[in-house]
Amino acid sequence: MKLKSLLVGLGLMAGVSLAHAEEPFKVGFVYVGPIGDLGWSYEHDRGREEMQKYFGDKVKTTFVENVAEGADAQRVITQLAKAGNQVIFTTSFGFMNPTVKVAKRFPNVVFEHATGYKRAKNLGTYTLRTYEGRYVSGVTAGLLTKTNTIGYIGAFPIPEVIRDIDATYMGAKSVNPDVKLKIVWANTWYDPGKETDAANALMDQGVDVLIQHTDSPAPLIAAQKRGIRAIGQASDMSKFAPKAHVFSVRDNWAPYYIKTVQQVMDGTWKSQDFWGGLHDDMLQLTSINPNLPADVRAKIDATYQGVKSGTIQPFKGPITDNTGKIVVPAGHTLTDKELAKVNWYVDGITDKVPN
């Protein structure tokens, strides 16, 4: 989609010279992948579209997709700021430092960076409690597995993924004490071929429910071919594997984009670290497969409600890691700050966190 990026770039340059006082409130978005990735960037763009729809003519949105993390990102973010955007959402972890730098140069523009941890007066951060969706996925997988072996395809061993692996395992174990979790790192967020290989490698080793922390629907397609189950990631992936698909945990950014833009318009916006989950409807379970057994379906609903209402807290102590160390003492539940630093596997995962 290079051509579109180019057109947007030209549009931005034109925008600089055409800036007028009485034009719509401008909001810019920077995506790391193509919108066509059907996962991470795709859902951010759906969030943008819904926000645009909500505000109508009052808001004008611009997005730049396929932006490489690093120096290129800084250029793109600067251009968006120069073009008169009053809020700029940068939607990948690797945009953190470029966003911080540009935010310093444009103190009157509000910046929002997804999944990062550096904030400033005009720079806030936001992320998803993906571990909540993983816990429900774990419970479901624990019930569905007949070989007692669940497979997890990870992208990179960063806290978000480690945390989600822990939540998955704790969920599975809560309903199936004999369950084992096999983890494979694909070392990529997006490579359909590699993700297929990873899925096959896990299935060859007896995995019969797949959970993926990578973005393409390839693992689902591989699962359907071999007649096992899989859970979709980031967006609704049901149509890729109608039989294998259990449900997808969808990222829903729209509520946050609407809320933030409204706050900046009203002048009530303040820099903060926001975590959205099932409770905020920013994570959704979509397209739950009607071919699931009724008792599994009921358990999915109950777990979903439990996590949503807060009666189930995945990271509530006591929790021991798999080296025997107590990582969450009894009576304590991990705070958001602590969640951002999880780097241990919970007791029962027979694997080591890669360094």
């Binding site: 989609m1 990735d37 983890i183």
Partner: protein
């Protein structure tokens, strides 16, 4: 590790190696004629997207493969006109082709993202597939994998045992001498480039119709580049290309399998094994000046202008 798992790993290694094999088989012919085409990644993506669209529109995966091969040839024709007719630098033109193909395929395919097609189903070959172990590894694939077996044999035969192979070699080693004995150098090179393009298009179709039956931007994820390295790794020998392709496939499967088995080796380290192997082979080849000259087609990368005889 039990026998079943080993069989499954080898089965997967062949599947993973197949797109690399197809590209490298085409590129080795192209390079034997003295032309280096770095545009593999772009041609492969165009092949993948056109193959997918054709299969989606017609509901016929065979037509998808045909479309992908035609598209691959068309892309390589652009390259051929630039480097053969206009004498453009092969390296720069090839890189441009990759960038062009990556962008254009994303543009063309944007409306087809999120669709699926019925690709090729595996076919167990009667009798052969019932050989213990070997049958499970080699003869339960889909038709494109079998086609790659046949193509490898045919290409090896043509390159080494026929007049066509000799002409190709003559053009690649010394185009001036070839020209002097009446071989139409540019014509041979055109055909070699077009053949390479068709093979790369086929590899693209394999990705979008068999391997992961879907279209997604940049779905080939660098396999075109690995295949280019593979040609050097195999020192321009067809037999070694086949071996190398499956070795690459094996290495990329193993690094995933070992993790699942709980073997504690850094996955980054394992993921880089195929590339390390390529570098080692390149070092071995280039350490021996004489050998290097024997192996690489001598006029590789150099333009030839029949009007400008030395």
């Amino acid at each position: 590790m039990d026998a079943d798992l080993i069989v499954q790993i080898l089965f997967a290694a062949i599947k993973t190696g197949t797109p690399l094999l197809l590209i490298a088989l085409g590129e080795v012919i192209c390079e034997k004629s003295g032309v280096l085409n770095l545009g593999q990644e772009g041609m492969m993506l165009m092949g993948a997207v056109v193959g997918f669209i054709a299969a989606y529109a017609t509901g016929n995966a065979g037509l998808g493969v045909l479309g992908a091969m035609l598209m691959g040839s068309f892309m390589s024709l652009i390259f051929a006109v630039l480097v053969l007719q206009l004498g453009a630098n092969q390296v720069a033109t090839g890189l441009a082709l990759t960038i062009f193909g990556t962008g254009l395929s994303a543009f063309v395919g944007s409306d087809f993202v999120g669709n699926t097609v019925q690709g090729f189903q595996p076919i167990a070959i009667p009798v052969l597939s019932s050989i213990p172990y070997l049958g499970d590894i080699l003869f339960k694939h889909d038709i494109l994998v079998y086609l790659s077996f046949v193509l490898a044999v045919v290409i090896a035969y043509v390159a080494n045992k026929t007049r066509v192979g000799l002409v190709l070699k003559a053009v690649g080693e010394n185009p001036h001498a070839a020209n002097a004995i009446g071989i139409k150098v540019l014509q041979v090179r055109y055909l070699a480039i077009l053949f390479g393009g068709a093979m790369t298009g086929l590899a693209g179709a394999y990705m979008s119709l068999v391997y992961t039956p879907m279209w997604a931007e940049n779905m080939t994820a660098g396999r075109g580049w690995i295949a280019l390295a593979l040609v050097v790794f195999a020192s321009w020998r067809v037999g070694r290309i086949m071996l190398g392709a499956y070795l690459f496939g094996f290495a990329s499967i193993m690094h995933l399998v070992l993790q699942g088995l709980g073997v504690n080796i850094s996955s980054n380290l394992l993921a880089m094994m195929p590339y390390v192997a390529t570098v080692i082979v390149m070092v071995i080849i280039s350490a021996d000046q004489f050998k290097e000259k024997l192996l690489a087609p001598r006029s590789l990368g150099k333009p030839f202008d029949p009007r400008n005889m030395a």
